[in-house]
């Protein structure tokens, strides 16, 4: 049986191998459990139901997909599949790894792949995969032999490997969960991963323990406890007391307290969330004019806001996709130039200014209300009288997705497939949600061609062209990606956040 290490060699992942090495030694000087302070209750432990990256990170401890991503580089790597081959634009062939057993003892084989994709995409269940890989793609799993499957799609889809590498495509046992094909699981988790499910006390904690029969490298920790502590200040107090080893969602204002504590440190990683203000260029009269949207971009001193409100912890965003994502590029910033902004407004016939409503949600993003206020202040200065309105999240998000916000609203997008196409496709006029700007002409053609293209080099060119086009159209007020902050004790090792915000906790341990 090839070990996981062989697999990485095959994949040429020297960097990943180096990352794994320190984990092997020094097992005796570790605390038996790692406790992680979560800000909210994981919504589920069903591998296909979860929505949040925090739940996905827990699933990732216990379950595995056919493919996965390198925790540092985000490159796609084989996991439960040994290889993946594109036979033609509609067909992908995967060879499965042999001799792998689920936590219930069942063997992993082609049946399980078919069962999983049917459950995640073609069942009645309200799953995450249905959103990231819509059933309209017509995915079908053909079993060639017990360890070979072909995935056939009706639509040519170059993104199949990245869809298979997502946490939402965690493999599940065909026999063990046979009764749960049309039902979510709430009391157990049956996967192939390095950790086994112990308990989930809703609103309090999730506990997992090391799987002694795991096929890959043994995890360095015997137990991982996810402890829910909703209040950030209490979470920090628990960290200072040593009740928890890692604190998620450390708010910027509390970072100095962590830095001042000799036992603690701040771990930060650039978040993949891309923040911006979406302009409703379909319905709000002034915002239909590109010059007005550009003027609004030039009116805001982003550097001052990032420095003042976020202690400079972040990177500017100049188009609709973030750094690190496949096929992204940076077209460069709009300058902070209120004079030119005013000139552009005058050119567009709005020299007298106009009134604008800026929507924001509360409790969703850190310092959101303050940010909206500051931006409104900058717009006021070029004569755009801005009124900030806030709304509770569920209603806000419903309006946002339903293309109902006027005139503009704050949002932060994740990237579900880790490719620029994920956000770029949203500007096609036939896209179902978040329709605020319809691409047309050459830009639309570029986006459509990009979606169908398999060739890596051509994809890169098309991606760059589309992103530059969207920058020039100033479809958003482009803001930033912020750092994600964690408070950790100095004894925590092997904890990291993947660039797509999924927590990599398999190799985490705490020194005794």
């Amino acid at each position: 049986m090839p070990t996981r290490r062989d697999l990485f060699k095959q994949a040429g992942g020297a960097a990943a191998l180096a990352a794994l090495r320190p984990v092997a030694a020094r097992a005796q000087t570790r605390k038996p459990a790692v406790t992680i302070g979560y800000p909210s209750t994981p919504e589920t432990i069903d591998p296909h139901q979860f929505r949040s990256v925090l739940s996905g990170s827990i699933i990732n401890l216990m379950g595995e997909g056919l493919l996965t991503r390198d925790p540092q580089t985000m490159e796609i790597r084989p996991l439960l599949a040994e290889s993946v081959k594109n036979l033609n634009p509609n067909t992908w062939e995967l060879r499965l790894r042999k001799g792998i057993k689920f936590h219930n003892g069942e063997e992993f084989n082609a049946e399980c792949v078919k069962f999983t994709i049917d459950r995640a995409i073609h069942s009645k269940l309200n799953t995450l995969s249905k959103l990231t890989w819509p059933p309209s793609f017509g995915q079908d799993v053909v079993i060639v032999d017990p360890y070979t499957v072909r995935i056939v799609t009706k639509v040519p889809d170059p993104m199949v490997p990245s869809r298979l590498a997502a946490e939402s495509m965690t493999m599940t046992p065909a026999k063990g969960l046979a009764d749960y094909k049309e039902k979510f699981v709430t009391d157990r988790f049956v996967g192939t991963g390095p950790f086994k499910f112990v308990e989930h006390v809703v609103g309090d904690r999730v506990v997992v323990e090391a799987n002694p029969a795991y096929w890959g490298p043994k995890p360095p920790s015997a137990r991982i406890v996810v402890q829910v502590i909703p209040d950030a200040a209490t979470r920090l107090a628990a960290l200072q007391r040593g009740d928890i080893d890692i604190m998620l969602n450390l708010p910027f204002p509390l970072a100095p307290t962590v830095e001042a504590d000799p036992n603690l440190r701040v771990y930060s990683e650039l978040s993949s969330l891309t923040h911006g203000i979406l302009f409703n260029a379909r319905e709000s009269a002034p915002l239909k004019d590109r010059r007005v949207r550009q003027a609004l971009n030039m009116a805001v001193d982003r550097a001052a806001i990032l420095k003042g409100l976020y202690s400079g912890r972040g990177q500017f965003l100049n188009t609709v996709t973030g750094r690190n994502v496949a096929n992204t590029m940076d077209p460069g910033p709009y300058p902070y130039d209120p004079a030119r902004a005013k000139a552009l407004l005058a050119e567009a016939g709005f020299g007298q200014g106009f009134e604008l409503t800026l929507w924001q949600s509360i409790g969703r993003w850190v310092l959101a209300e303050e940010t909206a206020q500051v931006i409104a202040g900058y717009w006021d200065k070029i004569g755009v009288k801005t009124k900030v309105q806030v709304l509770e999240w569920a209603e806000y998000n419903k309006r946002a997705g339903g293309s109902a916000h006027k005139d503009c609203f704050y949002y932060a997008f994740i990237n579900g497939t880790w490719d620029a196409s994920y956000t770029v496709q949203r500007f096609k006029p036939n896209f179902a949600t978040f329709r605020y700007f319809d691409a047309s002409g050459d830009l639309l053609k570029t986006i459509e061609e990009y979606e169908r293209t398999f060739d890596a080099k051509r994809r890169k060119e098309l991606g760059a062209k589309a992103l530059t086009g969207l920058h020039d159209e100033a479809v958003w007020l482009f803001l930033w990606q912020l750092d994600e902050l964690f408070g950790v004790t100095r004894k925590v090792k092997g904890f990291r956040m993947r660039p797509d915000n999924v927590l990599h906790m398999r190799e985490t341990y705490v020194e005794a």
Partner: protein
């Protein structure tokens, strides 16, 4: 009466206006859950199930609502009772002393304390307690439920919400009673001051106090949200707020129903207490 309660507490208008499903809920799910049926059909169905003791399944966690409530209710009751006990233990003596020594320095200090308890937001006090007793002195745990020690900080924080109001109410009720004839008579007869206060005055001043305690008990059961959130206390307040924000109707309806049933029980006890305190009320309230 159960039907009436269900009808009003599960008021479809009130609950359904907030029923904007999250954008990611697909139409098929909507159908599977029966939310596409006419409201009155859904409501009739809900009532039939509730009568059978079935509160439905949580949309978010897919677990039975009754199980979710049953897991959380003891934590909330524990916290509420503890907070009320602390409040009573402090507020009643403080209120009596302020009434007897009306206008004195003690009275003034008690009033300032009572007002401060009401004006200081609970998160402020809670964080102060956490920092002092949890982080610096390390005497008490700062989150979760378990031992008696876990209960101290949340119960003390929560009790301040009630304390000030209660102490002031005890004071004002005592003031009224102290001026009345039978208290003067008792004093004139040479009955000891403590007996006058405890035996005659407090008993006669008790009706608003008992009412307030009953109300607070009921209110805290449904609404110690801030305290439960800060101390990660696994209670029903957090459950219902999370459910409201997730639009998890079965959970919201279930909690409202259960809490209102508890209210009815508590208020029955309050009415019985009235009768015990003032026999003249008995015939009327029965």
């Amino acid at each position: 009466m159960v039907f009436g309660l269900v009808h009003l507490s599960g008021d479809p208008v009130l609950l359904m206006v907030s029923s904007d499903s999250p954008p990611d809920v697909v139409a098929t799910t909507r159908h599977a859950l029966g939310f596409d049926r006419p409201l009155h059909v859904q409501f009739g169905d809900y009532v039939r199930r509730v009568v059978r003791g079935d509160l439905g399944i949580s949309l978010r966690s897919n677990r039975p609502v009754s199980a979710l409530i049953w897991e959380r209710l003891p934590a909330t009751v524990e916290l509420t009772v503890a907070a009320l006990l602390i409040a009573v233990a402090v507020a009643i003596p403080a209120g009596i002393v302020s009434a007897v020594k009306r206008g004195s320095a003690v009275d003034r200090i008690a009033m300032v304390g009572a007002v401060a308890g009401q004006a200081v937001p609970i998160f402020w006090l809670a964080l102060l307690l956490i920092t002092l007793f949890g982080v610096h002195l390390r005497w008490l745990p700062v989150f979760g439920r378990g031992s008696l020690a876990h209960l101290v900080l949340p119960a003390v924080s929560l009790s301040t919400v009630i304390l000030g109001r209660l102490a002031r109410l005890v004071r004002s009720s005592m003031l009224e009673v102290l001026g009345q004839d039978y208290v003067r008579t008792a004093r004139a007869k040479g009955v000891g001051e403590l007996r006058v206060l405890a035996g005659h005055a407090l008993k006669n001043a008790a009706i608003p106090i008992v009412t307030l305690l009953g109300l607070q008990f009921a209110q805290l059961l449904g609404g110690a949200v801030v305290t439960e959130t800060i101390f990660a206390w696994p209670g029903i307040g957090r459950l219902v707020v999370e459910a409201i924000f997730n639009r998890d109707f079965p959970v919201v309806q279930g909690v409202v129903l259960v809490v209102s049933l508890i209210f009815v029980a508590v208020n029955l006890l309050v009415d019985l207490a009235y009768a015990a305190l003032d026999p003249r009320i008995r015939t009327e309230a029965a």
